[in-house]
């Protein structure tokens, strides 16, 4: 289980290193506008082939690149009903704070749980390697957080039940 996680993350890291070559590109259609081309997808010559990396049916990562921006969409594993609501709650919590994260997208791309949008401006401000480190660490942290939340719910449930039943003895 841990092995596939390492491989998955290494693959994503390598793809990001190759894809993160962004440069400033003013908009071709409208004067004096500068838009992230990966969001608009109007000119095919500015877009690269999107790459889809699947760990299994439930977990995948879509990396779409263009000349001045890069979009990473993640789908996180959700095994049961409880994990489903915990993931939704946590990722919504993060997405609402997208302003603080700068590279996070407020709404995930259709069919995915969370999305990042990295533009050339971010690459100018931050080091490329550290940015990739951050994305990979983010993915690990999401997994860890969801499993810890689930464990805390189960532990609390166990404690609540035991205390209640002990009252009857």
């Amino acid at each position: 289980m841990a092995n596939t996680l390492r491989l998955y993350l290494t693959c994503i890291r390598n793809t990001l290193e190759a894809a993160m070559c962004l440069q400033n590109f003013p908009c071709q259609e409208v004067e004096r506008h500068n838009k992230p081309e990966v969001e608009l997808k109007t000119s095919p010559e500015l877009l690269l082939n999107p790459v889809l990396i699947c760990r299994n049916e439930a977990e995948k990562c879509l990396i779409e690149t263009s000349i001045n921006s890069l979009r990473i969409s993640l789908k996180v594993k959700q095994a049961d009903e409880l994990e489903n609501i915990l993931t939704k709650k946590f990722l919504r919590f993060l997405s609402m704070r997208a302003e603080a994260f700068q590279v996070l997208r407020r709404k995930p791309v259709q069919g995915y749980d969370i999305s990042f949008l990295i533009t050339n401006y971010h690459c100018e401000e931050m080091q490329k390697q550290k940015l990739i480190d951050f994305i990979v660490q983010f993915m690990e942290d999401i997994d860890k957080e969801i499993s810890e939340l689930k464990m805390s719910v189960n532990t609390r449930g166990r404690l609540v039940a035991t205390e209640f039943l002990k009252q009857f003895i």
């Binding site: 931050m126 719910v153 209640f164």
Partner: protein, 325 residues
């Protein structure tokens, strides 16, 4: 505080304050609400500082558990038995309340411990009144007899417009069924996982004396004959089987309180759990933002130039190469 306590802390505090300052005349008029829509009103007037009027309003019962005479059955006897001469039931109760009690605080027993215990009992008026019908049925169980002319399926109110069910007709056991309903979908999922833990943890050693407990998604057989809206529950049905050993002696009061507030207990812990998750998520967000800030090299540079001066040392080799190129 894991378990819900049977006395209302605010009411106990008010009573203790009054008893300590019995001779001081003061005007009190407090209204407050507790969980599951139980409202209290306390009134003390300047003319009679040792008389305290306590009014209680109970949650609205659904159709199958309607109060006859405005109070659950057995409530008046339970009040008289628990409080004795200190308390007088006023009939009719104040407007908007199910029960009004006139407490004569000068008639409290002089012994400190006994007085405190009685005040705690008065602050647990909710347990005495709402739990009265359950207490009556469980008392029969403790004496291993069957209650005369009791219905096959008894519905008792525990939340506004919701009730739980008892099957009291066997002498050796009483089956209690709780339909669990939650408004929010997240609450429902969390509660379902908690309720399944009840079944799991009973299997562990040391709890084999606790009442057997079952959880099912669909209404159990005991609820055959109940109305349709009583049978809809989005977090399933919990069944407890209570035996005489759970209600003998001192345990009766505790069992009555725990069963009356079971739904409130689960709800309370679901909400605590959500609060805890929020705290965790906020901490995680902070640590992630710190990780992101490490990706920015600019901040370190400005720190350095403010306090230190850094020189780049030129060696002879460098100067040689510079001049040649």
């Amino acid at each position: 505080m894991i378990l819900l306590q049977s006395h209302s802390r605010f009411l106990l505090q008010t009573l203790l304050n009054r008893v300590q300052n019995l001779e001081k005349s003061v005007e009190l008029d407090y209204h407050w609400v507790e969980f599951d829509d139980v409202r209290y009103h306390v009134q003390v007037s300047m003319k009679n500082p040792h008389i305290l009027l306590l009014s209680v309003s109970l949650p609205t019962p659904p159709l199958e558990a309607v109060f006859l005479g405005g109070l659950p059955f057995g409530a008046i006897e339970a009040i008289k038995a628990a409080y004795g001469v200190i308390v007088q039931i006023l009939d009719p109760p104040r407007d908007g309340f199910n029960l009004t009690l006139k407490l004569n605080l000068s008639k409290l027993p002089p012994d400190e411990e006994y007085k405190h215990a009685l005040l705690v009992k008065i602050a647990s008026v909710r347990e005495v009144v709402l739990g009265a019908p359950l207490r009556v049925i469980l008392k029969y169980l403790a004496s291993r007899t069957v209650a005369p002319d009791m219905d096959h399926l008894v519905a008792l109110v525990h939340r506004p417009n919701e009730s739980f069910f008892l099957v009291p007709q066997q002498a050796e056991k009483v089956t209690v069924v709780f339909p669990m309903r939650f408004k929010d979908s997240i609450d429902t999922v969390l509660a379902t996982s908690f309720l399944q833990e009840f079944v799991e943890s009973r299997r562990t050693a040391g709890l084999s004396n606790a009442p057997p407990c079952l959880w099912s998604h669909s209404p159990p057989l005991e609820l055959k004959g109940a109305t349709d809206d009583a049978l809809s529950a989005n977090a399933g049905f919990v069944t407890f089987v209570i035996f005489p050993r759970h209600v003998e002696g001192k345990k009766l009061d505790r069992t009555v309180w725990n069963l009356s507030t079971f739904h409130a207990y689960v709800n309370y812990h679901v909400k605590c759990s959500e609060g805890f998750m929020h705290t965790r998520m906020r901490r995680r967000v902070e640590s992630l933002i710190q990780a992101l800030n490490r990706a920015k090299p600019d901040q370190e540079k400005t720190k350095k130039t403010a306090h230190t001066r850094s020189f780049k040392r030129l060696s002879l080799k460098d100067s040689c190469t510079n001049s040649s190129s």
